[in-house]
Amino acid sequence: MQTDVKENNPLTRKDFVSDQAVRWCPGCGDFMILANMQKAFANMNHKKENFLSVSGIGCSSRITYYLDTYGIHSIHGRAIAVATGAKLANPDLNVWVFTGDGDCMAIGGNHFIHACRRNTDLNIIIFNNRIYGMTKGQSSPTTPVGLKTKTSPEGSYETPFNIGEVAIGAGATFFARVPDNDHALMEDVMMQAYHHKGTSVIEVLQNCVIFTDGIHEQITGRDTKNDNQVILEHGKPMVFGSDKKLGLRVDGMRLIKAGLENGTGKTLVHDAGEMNSLMHLALVKMQIPDFPVAMGVIRKVDSQSYSEGVHQAIASARKRTSFKSVTDLFQSGNTWQIE
């Protein structure tokens, strides 16, 4: 939760549009993320000069040049590390990290799991198009088994990461997933991430029109999305399907989907705030065709953020010490005079 109240100077989406020409391929899912981010930024209760956008390398990471905030376009995989240093240095900042499935889950995987573990106060948006786009089509850690890419011409035989599973497994306190074409949900999730204290991870199922065009189509397409997505809302039953006639239940140790003909009695009600991550992991792992893919805020639990911990430790050390300046420190301990 951020507390840096902006002055009587309401911001609009346009305040966050930079003067740089946007250079993504026409039809790229990145455009939607940019537009929704600018809109969400304008609604956040933060002074414009305290926004910081940090990105790594890849198509996704160009976004920092298009957002008119303070920004760092860093190096491959390291956006989270850069953002961590920046946030600790100035806890008033509202820090957003933009990264992709290659940048974040491969070369930057180490920083990602440690950010989840520490609960650093960062908002991380992962553009998941399941391919390396900027380097022209190599398989990534989220490329599905069987997909032919430049580096898997016979079809990928590597087991991909499920980003939510990695995040929650590493201790993330906030994980959400959204399709790139659901503007309202994306903006809502961005705002929930903003209000969350700690590391917020948002996976966007993003379409790459060049290398993996339509890779999320089964999940996000107009005709199939109702059956293939379940949008989770805290406190609401997990129902989905064109007529909202399907629900999720627990049967023994497994999740099952079941018709609601006999009422919603046994249908699971979403609790994003449950500390035990067992059910969140089960939900995050659901895949078509057996299950709908879970969207919305899947996990959102309260825990101290790393930046809070660091600054509380500093504050209490400052309170205890008698050192007023470095001279007091230097003069402490065994000293002697030469006359």
Partner: protein, 615 residues
């Protein structure tokens, strides 16, 4: 038997405390340093302990030593050879005898020279009795038994009593050098304040050692070394790593910035991370990163946020940080990277000293990637150069690499605490005109630095990053001529810093046959070697020592031109000499290199200089 090296006229002396890892030799040495400093002596110390955290007890591999040179003249090294060797067991004798001077004094705990310990140290006979040490003065001190005797009515367990025998040794050495016991006693009182019985035990052991030395008359009259002529002021002993940490703190305070330290543990640099972790009381923001890369990148983030920002490491970590240093260079961010060098490549000799990361610091990045390289030259001047590295980084919007090494990191020397206003001011380059007139790559016309505007500065929102920037605006561009121009500006910005550096100075002859050159941590040994030759009447040699390496001081070429030949001494295979060859190819360079993970001895430098002069 050789004539004893101990004499009432001696003006400096080298003492080495040596024992098993658990014998408390580092503490004993530290206490002797304190009381020597208090007596107004100059001194330099070095610890030497096993790489293993718990080496087998009583083995040669488990010997821990602490060496100190004290003197009434200026002392720049812990000494080549030892005058007084304190050995708490046979293994300590075995490990150290080779550096004891002929005629030197051995103070041995004779109680520990029992068959079991002798065997562990691979002695077939007792060296204290078999005549093999006839070239030395042996003091067979029953340290264990006399300590136990002195402590017998305190109700302590045997093990606890025996642990106090290091204070017995300190008592003996304190007597030899006429050191009153007041200082170590007050140290003991502070250290064991919560355990009065240990205060009593340690003080009794200390006094027992002192009385033993006094009453047995083995030493004749004790030695009084007159105090050194050090500048007035308040002093304390400081090791290189603490001095670096404190230099950063002082720089942050001077310019009113917070300090962010982002590091990953690595020998021999970790103590900087430890010290600053304990300095939350000064407001320091410490991030122990998940790896070296994260540490460097977080430091870049912290610098962009507007803090004085540093990352500390050793060679292997510096390799991992090199891509991030490139980002700091192209985005022109103020950043201090400290490399406490160790012997490499790879894991190499991780606890030993070397100066072999100079090439890495100068050239070890992809692309044209210039930054500032500096080197500290004594444990205490690590403070000053850490301060200056911070000042240069922030004033010139550039990453700076400060080189220290294992020898400076753990060695100590007396440090005069700077008085208020003594350190040069740090002026942060901020854009003072309205935000509308600002662009991220507008530069100071004289020094070419960018202006440092950070999140929180209203109206100055801007993006930086690793892609090439358009001059002035900072927009992305692939224009060929712009890249060439920006590359040259980044180099020129570093070169112009030379105009702010102090002139390089020569000790000894200002012109002549041979200029001896050193850089970084070898200052002590080379300086002593040259000074001794000058005292002996040698008139043809000069000595100059570099702390600023890139850029070099503005008068470097002029100095080099004044001598027929140049001898560059360094603890690597010739990195600085080749750097000079590439910059100033017309001069006649010779090189003297040592790559043994050990510092220079004064004697070997002297021999090399004499050898060179006679060729």
């Amino acid at each position: 038997m050789s004539k004893s090296v101990l004499s009432p006229e001696m003006r400096k002396a080298v003492v080495r405390f040596s024992g098993d890892s658990g014998d408390g030799m580092q503490l004993t040495g530290d206490m002797f340093s304190q009381s020597s400093g208090q007596a107004g002596l100059d001194l330099t110390t070095t610890p030497d302990f096993p790489a293993e955290i718990r080496a087998p007890q009583g083995s040669v591999g488990g010997v821990s030593s602490f060496q100190i040179q004290i003197g009434g003249t200026e002392i720049y090294t812990p000494g080549d050879q030892v005058d007084v060797l304190v050995v708490m067991n046979p293994a300590a004798l075995k490990a150290n005898l080779h550096i004891l001077k002929a005629g030197g004094t051995i103070i041995a705990d004779k109680d520990s020279f029992n068959p079991r310990n002798l065997k562990k140290a691979d002695y077939n006979t007792d060296p204290l009795e078999d005549g093999s040490l006839d070239d030395y003065h042996i003091v067979r001190a029953p340290a264990t038994s006399l300590t136990k005797e002195a402590l017998k009515d305190l109700g302590l367990e045997n093990q606890v009593m025996v642990r106090s025998k290091n204070m017995f040794a300190l008592g003996v050495v304190s007597y030899i050098f006429s050191r009153p016991l007041a200082n170590p006693k007050s140290f003991i009182q502070k250290k064991f304040a919560s355990k009065p019985v240990l205060v009593e035990a340690n003080i009794r052991a200390l006094e027992a050692g002192f009385s033993f030395a006094e009453s047995t008359e083995i030493f004749g009259a004790s030695i009084v070394i007159p105090p050194a002529q050090l500048p007035k002021g308040t002093y304390r002993n400081i090791d290189g790593n603490t001095a670096i940490a404190w230099g950063l703190l002082a720089a942050a305070e001077n310019c009113g910035k917070k300090l962010s330290l982002c590091s990953y543990p690595i020998t021999p640099a970790s103590e900087i991370l430890h010290e600053l972790s304990a300095r939350k009381d000064m407001g320091t923001i410490v991030f122990q990163a998940e790896d070296e890369i994260a540490a460097a990148c977080a430091a870049i983030g912290a610098a962009f946020s507007g803090n004085l920002s540093a990352t500390t490491t050793s060679g292997p970590g510096a390799s991992l940080k090199s891509e991030a240093m490139g980002l700091a260079i192209i985005s022109e961010i103020p950043l201090v990277m400290v490399n406490v060098q160790r012997a490499g490549p790879s894991t190499g000799l991780p606890t030993k000293t070397e100066q072999s990361d100079l090439y890495q610091s100068l050239y070890g990045r992809h692309g044209e990637a210039p930054l500032v390289v500096m080197a500290a030259s004594s444990p205490d001047d690590c403070f000053y150069y850490s301060y200056m590295a911070s000042k240069i980084a922030m004033e010139h919007s550039t990453p700076v690499i400060l080189l220290s090494d294992s020898y400076l990191a753990s060695g100590t020397s007396p440090w005069r605490i700077p008085e208020n206003g003594e350190l040069p001011d740090i002026k942060i380059p901020r854009f003072e005109k309205p935000a509308e007139e600002w662009k991220p790559y507008i530069r100071d016309p004289e020094f070419l630095n960018r202006y440092w505007m950070s999140p929180g500065d209203k109206g100055f929102e801007h993006r930086i990053g690793g892609l090439e920037k358009k001059e002035v605006t900072g927009n992305l561009t692939y224009e060929p001529l712009n890249h060439e121009k920006m590359t040259k500006i980044r180099e020129e910005k570093i070169d112009r810093i030379a105009n702010k550096l102090p002139k390089q100075e020569i000790i000894g002859a200002q012109t002549g046959k041979l200029l001896v050159i050193g850089w970084g941590s070898t200052h002590g040994a080379i300086n002593m070697a040259v000074s001794e030759l000058l005292e002996d009447g040698e008139k043809n040699i000069g000595f100059t020592h570099f702390n600023y390496i890139k850029p070099l001081p503005a008068n470097t070429e002029e100095i080099l031109s004044k001598f027929d030949r140049i001898l560059v001494c360094e603890l690597n295979n010739g990195q600085f000499v080749n750097y000079l060859r590439s910059k100033y190819p017309k001069f006649n360079y010779l090189q003297f290199n040592k790559i043994q993970g050990q510092p220079f001895f004064i004697s070997e430098i002297k021999a090399e200089i004499i050898n060179t002069l006679t060729q």
